[in-house]
């Protein structure tokens, strides 16, 4: 099974489109159809990821179906998660032999509300949410725990944000936003949407000259109790990575979904990435973090590198929940090894 096409909406701080994603999704679908020479009737299974809380309305994903024009009816499902998990559901459907092609999409309009506060509603509603620790505060606690434990320095964090050839010194001169996080340590607010087409075997070869074969996919969740886990490590990422890499962690590129700079350090270590792997050539979530599509985009960017011939083996990671609670790892290869 392979990724044969990827498209995403422009990464913007605020789209004028509605919260159901339709205006961002239609151009993505059109791009994929024309690129692959297919129509919506060529898709056997559809799966999407989004969040009602981001839209501020129950059943927001229902009107997203309008972007498809699902007449006649489609075989479709939806996860209330990042669309990387929708891709997982599609991967399962294709593996079971019930479909040969799938289109997976995700969307989120973070600008519709105050994201850092909305994400607080993911916490234990009886004991933690009433204290309103927002997403930045929780990530700040995580970053502080790593600094105190000597796992990383503020300079290491700035280096993640600066990327290759970036100016670390000037970043370190900027003020704290949520001590020890500075603005560059925090993913920007991004509205966006993304879509990926999956196909099986010969169908993938028909649709794409150099398909990005998915050779493994796994995900795990950690405890929600922030005080019950070591925030400086990510056991769920380690377990998922171990399950799909079998210990072979040499990749040309890795796309890691790290909405905070220090989380990239945690993830790279949890996966066991080596120096030969280029991390986040797309810029990662610190460059653009369209909620509920950002994890799917990591898979898309990794696949795109393989389809374009600039990588042969790639890893993509997606996260969800406070302080990297839930993690998914995908391995993509230029050759169908399994």
């Amino acid at each position: 099974m392979a990724v044969v096409g990827f498209a995403h909406a422009p990464h913007v701080p605020e789209t004028f489109g509605t919260t159901n994603g339709v205006e961002m999704l239609v151009p993505c679908f059109q791009q994929l159809y024309s690129q692959l020479g297919i129509t919506k009737s060529d898709i056997d299974f559809w799966c999407s990821g989004s969040s009602d809380y981001l839209a501020g309305r129950a059943f927001s994903f229902i009107s997203a179906v309008d972007a498809i024009g699902a007449v006649p009816p489609i075989n479709e499902s939806h996860v209330e998660m990042d669309a990387a998990w929708a891709l997982y559901e599609a991967w399962v459907k294709l593996r079971s032999g019930q479909a040969k092609t799938a289109l997976v999409y995700g969307f989120g309009k973070s600008s519709a509300g105050t994201l850092r506060q909305i994400l607080t509603m993911q916490l234990d509603p009886y004991l933690v949410t009433p204290l309103w620790p927002d997403a930045w505060s929780i990530a700040g606690l995580q970053a502080r725990a790593g600094l105190d434990a000597g796992r990383w320095t503020e300079r290491d964090m700035a280096a993640v944000a600066a990327g290759e050839g970036g100016d670390v010194e000037s970043l370190l001169d900027t003020p704290y936003v949520a001590d020890p996080l500075r603005a560059h340590d925090i993913a920007p607010i991004t509205d966006g949407a993304a879509a990926i087409v999956l196909a099986v075997g010969d169908r993938a070869r028909e649709l794409c000259e150099r398909p990005a074969w998915i050779t493994g996919m796994a995900h795990r969740v950690d405890t929600p109790t922030l005080g019950a886990r070591d925030l400086t490590v990510s056991p769920s990422t380690s377990a998922a990575a171990q399950a799909v890499t079998g210990g072979n962690t040499s990749f040309d590129i890795a796309e890691l979904h790290a909405p905070f700079s220090h989380q990239q350090l945690i993830l790279a270590e949890a996966i066991g990435l080596t120096n030969g792997t280029k991390v986040n050539p797309s810029g990662g979530a610190l460059a653009a973090n369209p909620m509920f599509a950002a994890g799917l985009e990591r898979i898309g960017f990794a696949a795109e590198a393989i389809m374009a011939g600039s990588a042969n083996r790639a890893l993509a990671h997606a996260t969800s929940g406070p302080a990297l609670q839930q993690n998914l790892v995908t391995v993509l290869d230029s050759e169908a090894r399994r």
């Binding site: 009602d52 809380y53 229902i62 075989n75 209330e80 559901e89 399962v92 795990r220 969740v221």
Partner: protein, 388 residues
């Protein structure tokens, strides 16, 4: 690679208006523990957890499965959260089954719930959507015109809806977990109940319930191990899901194409050519009584216009040609997110011979069904006592 899958065990909470004694976590755990006991397993035997729930705004927690990971026994395991509106419980069963059918996992726990007392679901379902005409009339107000339209086009007599209500509530009285137990309900009492959304009366509507349902789906090896203990499992013969938009020109909301297509795909997958005669018992998502005859036609059990005739002849009672909702159905218990999985679980219980006082004698093939949104999301399955 399509591996056989079977239901190993099911568990439900009792369904009531308000569970003030437990949190969401405690309520889910009750259903999970009962399903594990029913399957003869412990949480350590579970490879992955699939969660289903209708909208997060009902309880005011964003993606509650994240905070529930420990309570669900999911920590350290894969956790998937499915959400396909009112059909979500059914979709949860389908996704959990697919994980086994794809050979990804051996034993998967499906859990669905709703704690409706945390909000007012009837009105939460009427939130205005951009570019869609607001109804603002609650779920009953949305569906009442469809029922009226059905009555007009099928010439059904006006007592059919009340007959369904009487049957389902009397069946519910035999189900120890049902929310509404009304053994003494009569056609006259239903017809005398208040008209809410003409032609839907108070006694023809589902209750708002708190409740949870869990199910363990296993692969062939796991199922054979349960069978070796002398207990039956429910082999999954087929699943189907279909979606269409809420509105489009010419959409038939009385007999939606998505439901017809899903049923056709399901019968094909399960190798069934004559559903009325081959299916022994059906658990159909009937939140308003008139949806029984409507769905009997939509699903292909009878030709268009004949659904009410089957009900009128008493053929959907326990003992009829197609017993529908022997558990009492959605009309007796409706924790929305769980309701679809309950239909799937009740179908499984029938072919496993574990339905107690409302067991349909000799049930070998059963049908479970869920629908959602504005009647545009469908999920369904057929389970059997034999592997096929």
């Amino acid at each position: 690679m399509n591996f056989p899958a079977a239901v190993l065990g099911t568990g439900q909470t009792h369904h009531v208006t308000k569970r003030t004694d437990v949190s969401m976590a405690g309520m889910c755990r009750e259903a999970i523990d009962r399903a594990l006991v029913d399957a003869g397993l412990t949480i350590a035997d579970i490879d992955a957890v699939v969660v289903g729930k209708a909208p997060d705004l009902f309880e005011g927690v964003m993606m509650p499965e994240l905070y529930l990971a420990d309570a669900l026994g999911a920590t350290g395991k894969p956790l998937l959260r499915v959400h396909t509106a009112g059909s979500v419980g059914g979709s949860t069963g389908v996704v959990a089954t697919n994980l086994v059918q794809a050979g990804v996992h051996k034993r998967v726990l499906a859990i669905a719930w709703e704690k409706q007392s945390e909000s007012n679901a009837m009105w939460a379902l009427s939130i205005p959507v951009p570019f869609t005409m607001p109804v603002g009339a609650g779920a009953g107000g949305y569906f009442a015109p469809h029922v009226r339209s059905y009555i007009r086009r099928s010439n059904a007599p006006s007592h059919i809806g009340a007959m369904v209500a009487v049957k389902d509530r009397r069946n519910g009285a035999k189900n120890p977990l049902a929310h509404l137990k009304q053994p003494d309900i009569t056609l006259e009492s239903v017809l005398a109940s208040q008209m809410l959304w003409d032609p839907i009366r108070f006694d023809e509507t589902c209750p708002s319930s708190d409740g949870a349902c869990a199910m363990v789906i296993g692969d062939e090896e796991a199922a054979t191990a349960v069978e070796a203990t002398g207990k039956k499992v429910a082999w999954v013969h087929g699943t189907a899901m279909r979606t269409e938009p809420t509105t489009f020109a010419g959409r038939d909301q009385v007999n939606p194409q998505a439901g017809q297509d899903a049923a056709a795909a399901l019968w094909r997958a399960a190798g069934i050519s004559d559903p009325l005669n081959e299916i022994d018992v059906a658990e159909i998502y009937v939140p308003f009584s008139w949806f029984e005859p409507m769905w009997l036609e939509n699903l292909g059990f009878v030709p268009q216009g004949d659904g009410w005739k089957l009900t009128d002849k008493g053929e959907t009672e326990i003992g009829g040609i197609l017993p529908v909702n022997p558990s009492g159905g959605v009309l007796s218990s409706n924790p929305i997110g769980a309701s679809g999985l309950i239909r799937f679980a009740e179908a499984a219980k029938q072919v496993m011979g574990r339905a107690g006082a409302y067991q349909v004698e000799g049930a070998r093939k059963a049908f479970g069904h869920a629908y959602g949104g504005g009647s545009q999301y469908f999920s369904m399955w057929v389970v059997g006592s034999e592997k096929r």
